[in-house]
Subunit: 314 residues, 2 copies
């Protein structure tokens, strides 16, 4: 991994806001590679080198690497960050984690931020251990073990604030940030997140308050280094979330495949364009299945279409 | 990984109950290896083979493997399962995931169940991807990618029931189970889990009801394949949790280093001895720091002490 100096220094939200302004985009490319749905060229190339990477997991991991590199190359001009879905790498075991690191390096060379979507959450020392892996690593008797040096990580709030602060401490060592799950895009969000509280409001609103209290504003952007995951499929919650989290960057999944519409996202952008990041994965990567053309060309066109739609709103 | 036939078949809770009865123990060995706190012999041996495993992460991973094997060998007669803390392997990247697989194989050869402590949680396809990795794997164009074949996995409930059921579907394909986070052992559990609801009760009680609704009883034991993580540091909640989860196996962290006492755990064991699994990690692995003696001897003695204390309660 590159040393810290290779990443731009400064508060996470300031770095993000500068990139959003420079590239005129709020789109985040979700990388959820399924070995059964990769771009055909990546699969063919992986079959061609299968002898060098024996075993289904190693070959599938190489195919995932080729695929992710091609997607990033096609889409980079239209997006500000990639959001690797860690599950899709983790299920390939050790080769998957090796490829995740290579994908992160490729995205960084393309000038993109890396938002690791892992939804981790655990008590004190365990949270710190996860954070070591996703952020700056940790010292051992065998030398410093590098972390992934992600620019941000998604975290789960069920266990409370003391399970989030260890992630934040490690993130801040390398000017990274967090995105706390607040109101997600799945129907089951009604089961727990929407539960009405005795004090008034829904549980997710309480979690929003906790997330707000943990953030620190960047001196340039005024935006916090603790953002929130707020699903684009429930736009009625966006304005309320913005009231509770006036300085947080919202990571907005659910556009496209899950049914959310960009036009409904305006409240997310109120504090500035960098305050609303629209994530899209399948709708970009599988655009050729809908619209025809080459996978790369269709992905680029769809990412550009999303970019314009979001940029024109703010 | 061994084929499915090498694992005993049958409902997770029935397999667990049979092992608890056979080995007369409800103790689960937590494996939270910190490269800075390993047994000295493991560190020395890893230094000796560092040339074959170049780089800090690879050498640290080998040290972790030697350490975990030695701990398992020392403690196996007194425990029914191991609970690898996935964060501690994940932060070592690809070598860490390779070693995790080897530790799981070692524990299985020692006749122990494997409860993967990962606290994962995500929407539909992503939850399934995580479950592929921890349970039975998945088919790809490059062949079947093996999963870890864990006997059970801890999962996080914040995002709702539809983020738990995909894990359960994959678990049941290999007769595995889940443990849902219900009321955890950290002080911050008060922030979200204890939040009073408008319908009455605390949030964690609502989550307990959800977990109860997802489980299916084993024909032999009557215990569910969806268990609950209930911290041993808040014994006042144990009786209430048992009311809400009359057939669930409780995974009880917090004994020892976190201050919980075995004598307070009696309500957990009400449906039978296998319904309360007492996890201990640091108090076993670092017993020699407290009580002197060799690391292996002290660990074995402490595990045996815990075994007797829990067994005598039920």
């Amino acid at each position: 991994m590159p040393p810290l100096g290779d990443q731009p220094a400064g508060h996470f939200a300031d770095r993000l806001a500068a990139l959003v302004a420079e590239h005129e985009t709020q789109i985040v490319l979700g990388l959820d590679p399924d070995p059964n749905r990769l771009w055909p060229e990546a699969v063919e190339r992986a079959h061609g080198v299968a002898e060098q990477h024996p075993g289904p997991a190693a070959t599938a991991a190489v195919a995932v690497l080729y695929h992710c590199r091609a997607v990033i190359d096609a889409v980079a001009p239209a997006v500000v960050a990639v959001k690797p879905q860690i599950a899709c790498f983790e299920r390939l075991g050790a080769p998957g984690w090796g490829v995740l690191r290579a994908v992160v390096e490729h995205a960084r060379r393309a000038g993109l931020l890396v938002l690791a979507d892992a939804k981790r959450g655990d008590i004190d020392v365990t949270a710190t251990a996860y954070a070591h892996g996703f952020f700056g690593g940790f010292p051992t008797p065998f030398g410093h073990v590098d972390g992934l040096r992600a620019d941000a990580l998604t975290v789960a709030p069920y266990m409370g604030a003391d399970t989030i602060t260890p992630f934040l401490s490690e993130a801040r060592r390398i000017d990274a940030g967090l995105f706390v799950l607040v109101r997600t895009s799945n129907p089951g969000a009604a089961d727990v997140e929407d539960e009405p509280l005795a004090r008034g409001g829904a549980l997710w609103e309480r979690v929003a308050e906790l997330a707000h209290g943990l953030g620190r504003p960047g001196p340039a952007s005024g935006l916090h280094d603790v953002g929130a995951v707020v699903g684009a499929t429930a736009p009625q919650h966006l304005a309320r979330a913005r009231d509770l989290l006036p300085r947080s960057v919202f990571l907005l999944p659910g556009i496209g495949a899950q049914g959310g519409r960009i036009a409904d996202l305006a409240p997310a952008f109120a504090p500035g364009r960098a305050a609303g990041l629209v994530t899209a994965s399948r709708s970009i990567v599988r655009a050729h299945e809908q619209h025809g053309g080459s996978p790369a060309g269709a992905a680029r066109a769809e990412a550009e279409r999303l970019r314009e739609a979001a940029w024109s709103l703010a």
